[in-house]
Symmetry: C2
């Protein structure tokens, strides 16, 4: 692919220049995590096929799995009707969550109480 | 359920008192939409079993489907490791998107071009 895809100019980034991105395992449908991207990280993700977020806490690119090896390979990028949210269909290597769980959404509210529905994977 | 579930106090709302909420069809895994909630709309959603967002544009409760009939019945509420994103497993009546498509994520980027992958449902 050459040049920056034009759809990036149509995305509705917030006041900080960021857009939320949901990562979903492409074949099982499991929602793995939600993080943020800026225009440059969207472009890099499409260019490399590896998901790159923008870390709000560290204020730098967050190339998912760069240190952990738990990479996200992009299968398809989609965006919503208001162009203010991205959906990333990915192939996740290992756990997506920094707690070593497959998904960051490992807590459910049942009968008003929080229940952990996923355990950390063995390392 | 009586009283406000205590986990709401653990959620990390942003400076505007809001938290992003992803709606996913509980049985197919399809990601339907992403919108925002405040503490009161989270509480109401759990209390009624019908998803209630907070509309940032209208600055009021947005009881999904109240005018369209395209309601979201809550199956389970989950939240992530940082407690700053909610995942709603729902049973969606009709299309979730205001464009009358099943999901708001009806545009995909393929070979650098935007492609519509979903058509509006017949009314």
């Amino acid at each position: 692919m050459s040049g920056r895809p034009t759809f990036i100019d149509d995305l509705d980034f917030n006041a900080d220049g960021l857009i939320p991105a949901i990562a979903q395992q492409h074949d099982t449908g499991e929602v793995l995590m939600m993080a943020w991207m800026n225009a440059a990280s969207v472009a890099e993700t499409l260019e490399t096929g590896r998901v790159c977020y923008w870390s709000r806490s560290r204020q730098q690119f967050w190339r998912k799995g760069e240190s952990s090896g738990h990479r996200q390979h992009l299968k398809e990028l989609r965006y919503d009707c208001d162009a203010d949210t991205i959906l990333l269909l990915v192939d996740q290597t290992g756990p997506a969550c920094h707690t070593n769980r497959r998904s960051c959404f490992y807590r459910a509210v049942r009968d008003g109480e929080t229940v952990e529905i996923m355990t950390p994977e063995a390392t």
